[in-house]
Symmetry: C2
Subunit: 106 residues, 2 copies
């Protein structure tokens, strides 16, 4: 699917969390993520092998990164998540889509 | 200046176009740009030596890229601008800040 507008095609609402690659090139991948109420199970943190920068563009979420205080994210808030660092999205809005833009550095 | 929220600290309104580096690492720079009515002079196009991906997050703008039709950009619209390609932001909103997020690939 080509997404020319990050706020369009929010089909994820019915189908669970949705991932769309916007652009990929050596060392960098730009991805849109649409959440609709999902959260990370406490015993199954995300933990990836690459650094990631992410900004919340719409909706709201709570994010916990290993060793840091939990943060409530509103549109525009951005976060750097270092490789191998466990993190949990402990809440995403249930009444509206939560749209993230993630830059993955591989 | 550290900007932890892309929609905060929009001091550019009074001072012309404003550029804030959000993050920089080998090969990639993430930058926020805040425009407040500026446009590119027809005889002085932007033309950079690296590829750029940019998304308009707030406000509105018209963008012309050499060899392509002019586009009216609304929040969420994203564009890839290849290195060395002349481009002009022919309009940005005068009544509200226009916020861009640019990923520069060096």
């Amino acid at each position: 699917m080509t997404v020319t507008n990050l706020f369009d095609d929010l089909r994820a609402r019915a189908d669970g969390e949705n991932f769309t690659e916007i652009m990929s090139r050596e060392g960098v991948c730009i991805e849109r993520i649409v959440s609709s109420g999902q959260s990370t199970p406490p015993d199954k943190p995300h933990r990836q092998t690459h650094d990631e920068w992410v900004v919340l563009l719409a909706g709201s979420a709570d994010l916990r990164i290993e060793g840091e205080a939990e943060r409530n994210l509103r549109p525009g808030d951005h976060v750097f998540i270092a490789a191998h660092r466990a993190h949990w999205v402990t809440r995403t809005a249930k009444d509206e889509p939560t749209i993230w833009l993630a830059i993955h550095f591989s």
